[in-house]
């Protein structure tokens, strides 16, 4: 408050000096001192004004920065939410496509199952597992490996 009055007085003084008719430069010392004082007063007032404006702008800038930061955070959250929504929509579309793909694959599996069923109807042993190798052991230089019997598929008719 005190600073404001001082600044206002300095401004008024500076304006008055600026508006006043410029005196002729006087050669005497008193006049020179007065001129110097007037100049110093005007400069001081100007400095005060500048400093005040500087502080105000700094405060505004600080507030603006805070607002900007808040706005930025708010905007980021909104943007993130929008991105989440967009991503969800894309994922939903991907899931929908996957469902279609699974349905098509299921149809193919059903067709293959039907084909297999037609090849090997109930009571038929056209496709049968077949024991391909008996249990044996195979020896190499360092290890003895047990060979388990393996199941192979056989095609044909009748029980062998």
């Amino acid at each position: 408050m005190r600073h404001s009055r001082l600044i206002a007085a300095a401004l008024i003084g500076a304006l008055a000096l600026a508006m006043a008719p410029k005196p002729m430069a006087l050669a005497d010392g008193a006049a020179s001192t007065r001129n110097i004082l007037i100049g110093v007063g005007a400069a001081a007032g100007t400095l005060l004004i500048i400093n005040h404006n500087k502080k105000v702008h700094e405060k505004y800038a600080e507030d603006a920065q805070k607002q900007a930061a808040l706005a930025e955070q708010r905007d980021d959250a909104q943007a993130a939410a929008q991105q989440y929504k967009t991503a969800y929509e894309h994922e939903s579309a991907v899931a929908s496509e996957l469902k279609k793909e699974v349905a098509i694959q299921q149809q193919q599996i059903n067709k293959l199952n039907a084909a297999v069923a037609s090849l090997n109807p109930p009571g038929s042993n056209f496709l049968a597992t077949h024991q391909a190798a008996a249990v044996s052991t195979q020896t190499n230089s360092t290890h003895q490996v047990a060979m388990a019997p393996t199941q192979a598929v056989s095609y044909g008719w009748g029980d062998f």
Binding site: L119, Y155, G156, W157, G158, D159, F160
Partner: protein, 124 residues
């Protein structure tokens, strides 16, 4: 003149007998004939020697499938006997193809009809 007729009749009888034996009795011939028919996707040829039960089971789709399996191994080159059990009339053969082999398992009835015929792809 009559001697020539007799000789010719004997030769004809021998030939007919041989043909009859080769058609029904020789397991390798039977196995080879069925394998060749399967390779050719010839349903009637493949099932000609089957007994009634096997004929009822076999379908053209199954014959076609086996034919496809055989063709993946290349050209059919015949069967050779690898093992036999005359008491049970069970026979094993190696069916040779240009790019691999299959095992043929054959079981015959006493009358020469096929009681079982199976093909086992060889795994390397």
């Amino acid at each position: 003149m009559s001697a020539r007729y007799i000789i010719a009749a004997c030769l004809l009888a021998v030939a007919l007998t041989a043909c009859g034996q080769s058609r029904g009795g020789d397991p390798q011939a039977v196995a080879g004939r069925v394998a060749q028919a399967l390779y050719n996707n010839d349903y009637n040829g493949a099932t000609a020697d089957f007994d009634d039960a096997l004929k009822a089971q076999a379908t053209r789709t199954q014959v076609a499938m086996i034919s496809d399996k055989m063709h993946t191994l290349g050209d059919y080159q015949g069967v050779t006997s690898t093992k036999s059990d005359d008491d049970t009339r069970r026979y094993w053969f190696d069916a040779k193809f240009s790019k691999g082999d299959m095992i043929v398992e054959l079981r015959l009835h006493a009358n020469g009809q096929i009681a079982a015929y199976r093909l086992v792809p060889k795994t390397s």
